[in-house]
């Protein structure tokens, strides 16, 4: 019920005094009310819930968090002070350690 889907604003319009947008959800376009994210512009990503944009997605935060999570395995290995053993040695092609 509290589902909100991220979509990209493709155009802006007005519906009897209410700011609206066409929002593209991976190929499907629907109208969304922009009254609660008046700062949103064409090209921005917004979270849409029951036809209302409730939040503008902060791209910088999204990139930063995602990169941190994606690199987590390398960071953990550094923390542990153990060599990464899932990849073959670039020189010999052998695994440095046996893969468990």
């Amino acid at each position: 019920m509290c589902l909100a889907i991220p979509g990209r604003i493709s155009s802006l319009h007005d519906a009897i005094g209410v700011p609206m947008a066409k929002v593209d959800f991976g190929g499907i376009t629907r109208d969304a009310c922009l009254a609660y994210v008046p700062e949103a512009q064409i090209g921005d990503y917004v979270l849409v819930h029951v036809g209302f944009a409730i939040s503008r997605i902060d791209e910088e935060e999204a990139t930063r968090t995602y990169q941190y999570l994606a690199e987590m395995d390398q960071l953990s290995e550094l923390d542990d002070g153990e060599p990464y053993h899932g990849e073959p040695d670039p020189g010999t092609g052998d695994f440095v350690h046996e893969v468990p």
Partner: protein, 373 residues
């Protein structure tokens, strides 16, 4: 799709699970508050990927599930009236009242319309000036600004053949109710990301302080949920109880100011009865006096309808995190999505319905593990 696909990345999920395994040293009980999170957890089998020490219990955050039987009976009474067009979100159609559901009312000649947005009701009202258009305004804080806007716009445009049956619920009072329960097992919460996109997290800070319980604002994709679990486990293991935001791309501390302002114009906080949990003080919204003319309950005089919840169902215990769906002897037998006995089976986001939809009653943990080898 951007902001969806990358949060379902298997490799990143694996990293997070490994980090959780590395961090955890003893058992912890975490509750995900929101029904959308429960649905994701069961759909992707996240609970089965986590180390055994992490127990996820499912919270009361499905507004369809917790709408009281009494309110549903009142809604159905209005929907049966002649010259009424009854509008609802689709999730509400199958929810049984004392005498059937909205599908049954439709089959018997009632006019029931599913709407995507509350603003669609105003279009229907304009196109049908000889009918009364009634919107079943349910939801948590996430949905309140949209529902409030429909009432605000109705007044602004002088649309008088429109009214709302309001059954709004609020998350923080339900969390306090769970923590106050003498049997409470919950040690940390995955906070409801989209509720917090509206309300922010300042209301949760006193809960963290008073109950010394970590709350991590969490999104809905598998990576979001695993990140929420990791942040909770780190706090618990380190003896910390803090409010953390694991959904920074969508949620800010003070939420959405414009949305909160609209809620404050149209709604006031009131006591609310929750299906399976009973009355929780100051746990819902109703219309302010200024908008009482749009209150369907008084317009159609249905407040005299009362209903008693059947005692057979254990959904109250499930909503408080004291039991799991598989603990209930009726689950998957006399209680199923076609014939739900209670709150948590009535909506797709209810814990019991999610377990049923993804076959948890057919496959137990051991056979699943054996099959994957």
């Amino acid at each position: 799709m951007k902001y969806l696909d990358e949060y379902r990345d298997q490799r990143v999920a694996g990293n997070l699970i490994e980090e959780i395994k590395r961090t955890i040293t003893r058992p912890w009980v975490l509750m995900e508050v929101c029904g959308g999170q429960t649905h994701s957890i069961v759909k992707y089998g996240l609970d089965r990927l986590l180390p055994e020490q992490v127990e996820l219990v499912h919270g009361p955050g499905c507004p369809v599930c917790v709408t009281s039987l009494e309110t549903i009976d009142r809604a159905h009474a209005i929907a049966r009236m002649p010259d009424v067009i009854f509008c609802s979100f689709g999730d509400m159609l199958r929810v049984p009242g004392t005498h059937g559901d909205l599908f049954k009312i439709k089959s018997e000649g009632g006019i029931v319309r599913v709407v995507y947005s509350p603003l669609d009701c105003l279009k229907i009202a304009r196109a049908n000036p000889d009918k009364q258009v009634v919107f079943f305004a349910i939801g948590f804080e996430t949905t309140a600004p949209a529902n409030a806007m429909s009432v605000w716009e109705a007044r602004r445009h002088g649309i008088t053949n429109f009214s709302v049956l309001v059954s709004h619920v609020l998350v923080p009072p339900a969390m306090r109710g769970i923590l106050d329960s003498p049997n409470n097992r919950v040690q940390a919460f995955l906070g409801p990301g989209h509720v917090c996109a509206i309300s922010g997290w300042t209301e949760y800070e006193p809960i963290v302080d008073r109950y010394r319980v970590p709350v991590v604002v969490t999104g809905f994709e598998p990576i979001d949920i695993l990140q929420g679990v990791l942040l909770c486990v780190q706090q618990l293991e380190q003896g910390r109880a803090e409010l953390e935001n694991g959904y920074a791309r969508a949620v800010q501390r003070k939420g959405n100011a414009a949305a909160r302002e609209m809620i404050g114009r149209v709604f006031r906080v009131c006591d609310r009865a929750w299906r399976g949990l009973g009355v929780i003080p100051q746990s819902g919204y109703s219309l302010t006096g200024e908008f009482s003319a749009y209150d369907a309950e008084s317009r159609f005089d249905v407040s005299r309808i009362h209903a008693v919840e059947p005692a057979v169902c254990m959904s109250g215990e499930i909503l408080k995190g004291l039991m799991k769906p598989l603990d209930c002897p009726a689950f998957g037998r006399e209680c199923n999505p076609e014939n739900p006995l209670g709150a948590t089976m009535v909506s797709a986001e209810g814990a019991c319905a999610a377990y049923y939809s993804y076959g948890r009653h057919l496959v137990d943990a051991h056979s699943l593990a054996a099959g994957s080898r």
